[in-house]
């Protein structure tokens, strides 16, 4: 009987050093593309309308959640008076519209007595409003 010859297994070496390079390139890409959210992570159902325009990344963000809680730069505030004060402090000495603009993210179900005082507070503080909404399908 013929004896079977055992094949010698070749050691397979996977070059892993370059994987790290690729991964770090991807990290740099994501770091440059990232825009960190300035809201507290509350789920907000935005209003819809036919005419919306793309908005820039404005430095000030006000959020009003479903239950009417108000947040400025991710931190809950006591009321519109605090928003007015915060906006006034931020806007002071700034003439560029970009730095005067406050991005307002408000839930579509919030009633007027909750959101209108915030709008007025921003206006009184010297800010401009960029209301966040989505384009309606119909």
């Amino acid at each position: 009987m013929k004896k079977k010859r055992r094949r010698r297994r070749a050691a397979i070496l996977v070059p892993v050093a370059s994987i790290a390079d690729i991964a770090f390139l991807l990290i740099i890409f994501f770091m440059l593309c990232s825009r960190f959210a300035k809201d507290p992570g509350e789920k907000v159902d935005p209003p819809t309308t036919l005419q919306v325009n793309p908005l820039d990344d404005f430095p000030m963000v006000v959020l009003i959640d479903k239950s009417g809680r108000i947040y400025f730069q991710g931190k809950q505030v006591s009321g519109p008076e605090q928003i007015e004060e915060e906006v006034r402090q931020y806007v002071e000495g700034k003439t560029d519209d970009k730095f005067r603009t406050v991005m307002v993210r408000c839930d579509r179900t919030v009633l007027k007595h909750k959101f209108e005082p915030v709008y007025e507070a921003i206006a009184k503080g010297g800010g401009r409003i960029a209301a966040v909404g989505e384009k309606s399908k119909d």
Binding site: Q51, K112, Y119
Partner: protein, 135 residues
């Protein structure tokens, strides 16, 4: 004289395989933290005056929101009709003072309706001025 033995060169291997793990963990973090969605909305400037002069009020367009109802100069309209009426005002070509559109709302108005009207005013070239109810 003593013969010097050549020093045996040691191989220094830097373990690089862990780098990839760290890098991929960072990638996962950035993928989860990144928002690729373009934020859209309406930019509007609301006059900050405490009380507006009312002598020119008959000339100023007024939009009232009563619950789900929209009234344009006391006439009930749909949102589509409102857009057409505001477009007919040619606010884009008017002076800043004449661009003002008064917006009044009852307390039961939801942000959805308010935003829709505000977007229509802004799109027509108008400036929204909030009218407050007298207490």
């Amino acid at each position: 004289m003593r013969k010097r033995h050549p020093k045996e060169k040691r191989k220094a291997d830097v373990p690089v395989s862990a780098f990839a793990d760290i890098a991929f963990l960072l990638i996962i973090y950035f993928i989860l933290a990144t928002t690729l969605v373009q934020i859209s909305g309406v930019v509007t400037e609301i006059p900050s005056g405490e009380k507006a002069e009312t002598n020119e009020e008959e000339e100023t367009a007024t939009v009232q929101l009563k619950g789900e109802q929209i009234l344009y100069n006391d006439q009930q309209v749909s949102i589509k009709q409102l857009r057409n009426k505001l477009a007919a005002l040619n606010l884009h070509q008017k002076a800043d003072n004449d661009k003002v559109v008064l917006l009044e709302a009852t307390p039961d108005v939801a942000y959805q309706n308010y935003f829709d009207v505000m977007a229509s005013i802004s799109d027509a070239g108008g400036v929204t001025a909030i009218l407050q109810e007298e207490e």
